[in-house]
Amino acid sequence: MNQSRTITSTSIMLFIIIAILPVVLMFWRSLFPDHSFGFENYFALFSDPRQITLFCRSLGLASAAAFLSVLIGVPFAFLIARTDVPGRNILKALYLLPLCIPPYIHVIAWIYLLGENSPVIAYIAKQFSLGTPLPLINIYCTAGSAVILCLSYFPFVVLLTLTGLLSMDQRLEEAARLQYKPFKVLCRVTLPLISPYIFSGAVFVFIFSLFNYGVPSLLRVHTYPVEIFAQFSAFYNEGLATAQSFPLVIMALSLLILQRYYMGSRSYVTMDTGMSGSVPISLGRFRILAGGYSFFIIFFSVFFPIGFLVVQTGSWESVSAALRTSSGAIFTTLFLALISATAIVCLSFVLSRLIEDKQFKGRTALDFMTFIPFSFPATVLGIGLIYFWNWSITELIYKGSLILVIAYAARFIPFSVRVLNSNFKQISPSLKEAAMLSEKSWLKRIIKIDIPLSAQGLAAGWIIAFILCMGELGTTLLVIPPGKGTIALKIYTLMHYGANQIVASLSLILILINLFFCTAVVFGLKQKWQTAWIKR
């Protein structure tokens, strides 16, 4: 019907305008160095062997962080979703927090604990009258960066694995459990079935680690993204900066090809979403061990950095001072993040449906398109947005906060599309087809059937988009309307002068807001289907 045509084509148009055209524009401009067409910018790529080293190091760093995240995230998700691990409800409430803590805080906390001249080590050395500080682990290396990045980003893997585990038909597991031990069931049935989720989670960690320069540079590890920054801030060569983003885009696309190849024509549909809350697996004598493991992870990814922030904050006065001086920024950020996350999820929902729609001819093209802005550096995207929107006719958009919503959408739609795609892969198409037999209204089918069926995925997508919007920095700075500010900007402007108390209080406020809204979404979802199929 026309309704569906209108909405889907509007969505595709919107997506292309918001996320694709600014990227295309930047590539187009990079083809005209010195106002004449040429590939000079691209020939200059990797002409310097130093850059190859940096690129490989960045790749290695990001892969290591992603690998480590899967290694700790998947067991963690499994423990809290399927077993009687002690304190699983607390763990479930806490695991998302590392995402809300700026990675910068993680690394500062670690330097405080393990860095050269750390006050902690000095204190220990003094207490036990050890002459020289203890020779502890050297965190100033690529491996150290990978571990810290993993600790700040592994919740992506947990969140997605958990979503997969919750929306999967547990009877598939139960069937296997009749014959095999839980561990074998996990490896042979559960993990393969939720692998689209795990893969998406790993991709997120990979992309974020790849672009994070704060953590490695504080640990004195030089990485590739800083080269792109240098093109901007030292050489003002946006063409070359765009060209240097190209390898990253190529890499993101090859991840997609890898994913498609791996998934092939496998089906991840769980035939019937019979979700009666089954009894958690009893861990028996491993219960304490598993509890210790989960607590260990939560301790180092949540309690440790937050504790550090609390110590830095010092007193309630700093928190109230931060609230007083930054209430405007807090309100703006919250308002924008709520609207952007909702808009992002709505748009991603339509796009993901199309990508999963076997009858839609452009689905492969669309799938690839959603991967392009995925790995486009925030700064280059911001410049692209300026060129694209800063005209007198589009002033209504560019001069207002709408440009920020557009910027967030451009940056984060790929993420929520990935989440929703994993979710749609699990939903049997016949459920939608059955609805097509009777209900004429497309919108009604969507509201009554599609949306409830993907509730888990939508919630996960919204949470991720919300947290990311709350913390966005690189693009925000370039397009924020003068006179406005966001919490993230405020934190980073204050950070330079070591206004540590305010920075720490603002970070705590940011964390609390994120925690509140994410819990509200999860809780609301549970309430809605309390008696129904998602009974956990």
Partner: protein, 258 residues
């Protein structure tokens, strides 16, 4: 004027489709009369389900035309959406919406534009028809296998369709339950004089349910028998194995020999 019983309810004219290597149908032409039950019998992967989905409108044929009640619903230039084909379907996986109770499942299948009071009455009737009145507020996962099957049937019948498509609806049920349900379905569709297409790979099911049976092999309908004639052939086969029909490995799939 032709007798109403002779009216062609479903007509496929030279329909072809190619989705991928495994899902190909070539040049299919069949006619099903009103009130008739037509079974499609064949091994898995021969295209039975695809054929059913073509009729339902979930797939679009590349060539040929499909008529329902003498109205062209699909041709290379025109395609009616599923909800405009006055048919309903019982899916292989039943496709009961897991987030809706029995009542809500049926209610949604009624579509929009009906008064609430009438809807309520129809839901009651449909549940009564399949003897599920007491499960009106149960979610699908709270029902047993047979009950789910009956709910799926009730959901399909509540729309009072002229045509009912059944895609191996009995898979996953034990044989006693299966027989019981088959009888129920048969009774209901003949009472309501519904035209039905029944897809299965079970010979006895096909013989029991259908007036005519289309034997399928990969990519098309091989031969059409009346149920009686086919039953006779099967009987003959059982007496003298291998002469007329060859059984495959697990004695279920039937192929005609040269």
């Amino acid at each position: 004027m032709a007798n109403s019983m002779d009216k062609e309810m479903i007509k496929l004219k030279n329909v072809s489709i190619r989705i991928d290597k495994n899902r190909v149908l070539e040049n299919i032409s069949i006619q099903v009369k009103q009130g008739e039950c037509f079974a499609l019998l064949g091994p898995s992967g021969c295209g039975k389900t695809t054929l059913l989905r073509l009729i339902a409108g979930f797939e679009r044929p590349q060539w040929g035309e499909i008529y329902i009640n003498d109205r062209c619903v699909s041709s290379p230039v025109k395609e009616e959406p599923p909800y405009n084909r006055s048919l309903s379907m019982v899916f292989q996986d039943l496709a009961l919406w897991p987030h809706m109770t029995a009542k809500e499942n049926i209610n949604f299948a009624l579509g929009s534009g009906i008064k609430r009071k009438i809807k309520k009455q129809k839901i009651q009737e449909a549940l009564k028809l399949v003897r599920l009145e007491e499960y009106i507020n149960a979610y699908p996962h709270q029902l047993s296998g047979g009950e789910k099957q009956r709910l799926a049937l009730a959901r399909a019948l509540v729309q009072e369709p002229k045509i009912l498509l059944l895609d191996e609806p009995m898979s996953g049920l034990d044989s006693i339950l299966r027989k019981e349900l088959l009888e129920e379905i048969k009774e209901i569709i003949s009472r309501m004089s519904i035209t039905a297409i029944y897809v299965t790979h079970e010979v006895q099911e096909a013989i029991f349910m259908a007036d005519r049976i289309g034997l399928m092999k990969k990519g098309g309908i091989d031969q059409i028998f009346t149920a009686d004639a086919f039953a006779a052939i099967i009987k003959q086969e059982e007496e003298k194995p291998g002469k007329v029909i060859r059984l495959d490995r697990d004695n279920r799939y039937y192929f005609k020999t040269k």
